[in-house]
Amino acid sequence: MKPSPLSRLFLLLAALLAAWQVAIGIEGLERIPVLAYTVGFGVLLVACLLLIILGLEILESPVVVVVSTVIPLSLSLGLVWEHLAAWRTPYLLFVAAGFLTIVITRSLPLKGRLPTILLAVVHGVAGMVIFLLPSVLAAQGAARPGFALVGLGGALIGLGGLLLSFLKAGRPIVPRETILRILPALLLLMTAAFVAGFALG
């Protein structure tokens, strides 16, 4: 499915926002968060460009599962490193182990529900960190209120993941065309929420 001009515009804006975040939005942070956010927003940037070039069908490629894991894992690692000092090493290990698990279970011809369960666990934990941590910090006053927008981005990334999993399931609850029409706007909203949240937080 070729993206409509409006979808292309949404994807281009999302790519530009992600590029801005990599180049300017994370200046002055520690090395690990900078690396983690660069990976997260970098993958988002390249993914948006490829969606513009190749069309939305690439979302049905098996590689997307692995690539889409990188974004929440790296963003959540950056957040934990910045705001939960005691959890830095355990969470880094979780991220490394989680990513390897996804790569291995998606590369081997495994049967049963194990790959799906592991994917849900890794995505679920990373997604909850991105959603809850900024929201709680903002609510407690430990961060400025605008930081809650990062949590909103986390919620949107979760919604995007859910829609993608519907697509992969083959018999989506929401029609395939609707999902493909919504995703570019969702990607833009998600990226905008992240960028605004980091800028205002």
Partner: protein, 279 residues
């Protein structure tokens, strides 16, 4: 207006635009106080010289274009523009471009002329129909606008300028070789030796991946030497990583889709890198 509409495809506007962007980025990469007039001169002379060499290339290759599906509708190939008219146009544009360049600075003009010479004489007239290695000379020619821009800014050929030229030279296979795989049948029909027809697809993909590594490394090192800000270097690294991933995907997961995406992405990569170097 009708003539102009016919002439526009002869200068391959997108390709000329991209090469022009590299030239302007080369000039701005020096981060000297930019002069509007010099910038205009660099843009004008490079546009004329690149356009001129492209028209001369099309003039000479009109027989090839006529038998290739992708190009048979071009104005020269289908007879809407006569060969003599195209030759005159190409020579005039080239002479104006090089002349303007020499008038601005002899060394700058020499580099502009070198680009034109390598493209028209070495690549098009001499090697293109003989060996697939002609693309190396085409690549060297492609690296001349960025070197020329840099030379105009600092009045000498320095290591950064050479690295930037190398980046363009080694970037070209990610663009041209993916193209020659996509239009393999066309090139076969025209009997033009290409890497895929000479060494096979597998070797071609390996060459693409290796050249992407060198291109990205050259661009990165040049960026560091220029003193590009850390954030822009990060962004450059992200874009280079995308180029490398796609290049390696053509080796390990070859498909028409991956090949096409690399072809398209490579252009975006070059344009974005030029913007970052210029900032």
């Amino acid at each position: 207006m009708t003539k102009l509409r016919l002439y526009l495809p002869l200068i391959k506007t997108l390709q000329t635009g991209l090469l022009l962007a590299t030239g302007l980025a080369g000039y701005l990469s020096a981060h000297t106080a930019p002069s509007g007039w010099i910038l205009l001169g660099v843009a004008g002379s490079l546009f004329l010289a690149i356009s001129g060499s492209t028209v001369l290339n099309m003039w000479y290759d009109r027989d090839i274009d006529a038998v290739m599906n992708r190009t048979h509708h071009r104005p020269l190939a289908d007879g809407r523009v006569s060969p003599n008219e195209a030759l005159r146009l190409g020579l005039i544009l080239s002479a104006l471009g090089v002349g303007w360049g020499v008038a601005m600075s002899p060394l700058y003009g020499l580099v502009v002329f070198a680009g034109l010479f390598f493209d028209v004489v070495v690549y098009t007239l001499w090697l293109k129909r003989r060996t697939c290695w002609s693309i190396v000379w085409g690549g060297i020619s492609g690296g001349m606008p960025i070197l020329a821009g840099r030379v105009m800014a600092i009045s000498q050929i320095d290591l950064v300028g050479v690295l930037l030229s190398m980046a363009v030279l080694f970037w070209i296979p990610t663009h041209i070789l993916t193209f020659s795989m996509r239009y393999f049948a066309d090139y076969q029909a025209a009997r033009i030796p290409t890497f895929p027809s000479t060494y096979g697809f597998e070797t071609t993909r390996a060459v693409i991946a290796l050249s992407a590594i060198v291109a990205a490394a050259s661009m990165g090192v040049a960026g560091v030497m220029i003193g590009v800000q850390a954030g822009f270097l990060r962004l450059m690294a992200v874009l280079s990583a995308g180029l490398l991933v796609l290049s390696f995907a053509t080796v390990f997961r070859p498909s028409e889709r991956v090949n096409y995406s690399l072809f398209k992405y490579a252009s975006l990569y070059m344009l974005a890198s030029m913007v970052l170097l210029a900032l």
